[in-house]
Amino acid sequence: MKANYVIIGAGISGCSIAYNLAKKGVKDIVVLDKSYLTSGSTGRCGAGIRQQWGTKMNCLLAKGSIEFFEKAKDTLEYEGDIEFKQEGYLIISTTFEEDEQFEKNVELQQSLGIPARKISKEEAKEIVPHLNTQIIKGATFCPTDGHLNPFRMTDAYYRAAKRLGVKFYFNEEVKDIMVHENKIEKVISSNLEIYTNHVVNAAGGYAKEIGDMAGVDIPVYAENHQILVTEPIEKIQSPMVMSFSKNIYCQQVPHGSFIMGRSDPSVAHNHCIESSWQFLDEMAKTVCEVLPLVGKLRVVRQWGGSYTMSPDRQPIIGDTEALEGFYLACGFSGHGFMFAPMTGLLLSEIMLKEPSTIDISDLHISRFKNKQVFTYEKSVV
């Protein structure tokens, strides 16, 4: 078979890219996934949406995406509820240095029109009464951050893309990408051979392997991040509570459960998505310190998923110098879900050589060329 564009990966990024291309009138778009819709990182993510970042690029991607989410149900004509709840992110600082850094972050965020603000301990306690203020110096709060259901949101993109003629193939693992004289010829998957000159790598945790098939070296790796969810209770917490120094994010989702996660600094770089008892131990200790009341709840489930880390913890979005027609949307470093609307919009603009809504030349893969040291996004759990 033939296709104009082959998109690898039916997570939120792949679906958003497919939708944006189709909406601009592109025909013959095929999306391949080695498993099912949202089976990878999207369906395993923490479901948080925030604009409070430490780099300008991340702030802009997040802000544009939130503006899309606010209208997504109508724009995508989705019948279901995407469970978008804008009740904020409360990010707490626990050291003097962190508090100073937050001062700078908020300044940057405000300069870009993001309604984040620095707040006192007391104000933080008012927003989240069960917060342990003894351990905190201060906090920042952005009321338009929040929660979004990853399954529903991806489904909304998927259905909208399908209505516009995009073809999806599931359980279809890409095995090879054939290249001739610096041009893509075809994509070979489990059961299909698709002749195409354009491939989008939105393969999440497997983006590096897909790059290797096309002969393009992408400096990303996957690492396991774990999450747990508690039994549901009546609503007691509105915003996501997050701390980089305490290594935790925790929010109560509309259903009433608390979802929380933290990073393991010694985690191996691989495709492992197991859950461990060590995570459960450490997560329990952390949440008991930061949000003691939540410690009384029973855990109903835990799981793991991949962050795909780039050297500067910012996404790689754009074309590649090494191979004509090969496009990248990867290396989101744990935040691909919340950036997806902008990922789809901006990459489709690049692919169709349209003027960019915002300049994302800084997200091009060429930024890593001959570079050893990076200033990277620090506002990451």
């Binding site: 393991d264 600094p265 010694s266 985690v267 197991e274 859950s275 461990s276 008892w277 060590q278 459960l280 131990d281 450490e282 835990q302």
Partner: protein, 375 residues
Amino acid sequence: MSKYSLIKVKYMIKKDLVIIGGGPAGLCAAKMVAEANQSCMLIDRNQILGGQLIKQTHMFFGSEKQYAKTRGIDIAEKLVEDVKKYSDLIDIWEDTTVVGLYQDKVVTVLKNERYVKIQAKAIIIATGASEKVLAFENNDLPGIYGAGAVQTLMNVYGVKPGHKIVMVGSGNIGLIVSYQLMQAGVNVLSIIEASPKIGGYKVHASKVRRLGVNIETSCTIKKAIGHENVKKIETIKLDENWKEIEGTEKEYEVDAVCIAVGLTPLTNLLSMIGCQMKYVSELGGLVPIINENHETSIENIYVCGDASGIEEASSAIVEGYLAGLHACKKLGKFHPKNDELMNEYHQQLTNLRNGPFGEKIRIGLKKQGVCKDVS
């Protein structure tokens, strides 16, 4: 190794072998292991060992080797007695719920409200089954029970579940529980069965029919009616394609409904640790892929009894013996009569699965990847 493991290991109980589930399969595995002079920990979430046997007051069929002509409750007593003889080798943790099973073979449990971790070298999973449920309107009204719950109420606690009851399902459990309900003085209005023929043994069906209970085939429950508890149910006939035939609705005034539509393996722990699973409808649903040593796709993780596919308690007993023998053999402890027993038990399983009633099991086991112990 992650930095956490270094700090936490000292709070970890170490065991060579952990058996999860103290029903017939788990008890028999423990017995074999102890006979081979291998220590183990036997964990069960109930206060009394014996699994489902403790609520089975009827006599078993089949071979005397698996306690035929003995009541389930007496079999349980016998099996528990066997295990308690080895108190030096078998560490029994009753009233303890396993809440997690991790790839490094750490079993996490809740015991007396405390969270405890146990590091095992090998694990035998004998968690049994859970009852299947039916989807119909108001299926969550009080008064609607699974057959297991009815047996527990009547046979363990001596409580009648209701006065006027309809049984949904005519497998052996549906038939036996109907008979027991009648013995307890409950009015069984009807036994309904969705398939065109009765599922259980003829001898059980005849017994309830002689007492005047109608078994209506090609019929299912459509909805339950009631507010605080079930007052009425509506049944409907099914055609040869299992489609409802309009106009055949029938109402029964009831105060209880018993759903006996089969069991499904309780495989949550197997899934959690990452065993390869396969859907085999003949075995009751999602089952682990196993080799002929009852070992799953993860080395030293064994499974036996209903957790590896729904069969009779007699098969669970023999599978338990075999899983126990294989597990301790791999840990380096040979049962003094290992070879003799292995042959004997394999033969027993083959016999149990023989004949027309074993056909479904034989098909299922072939799909599951085990061709041994079926002729």
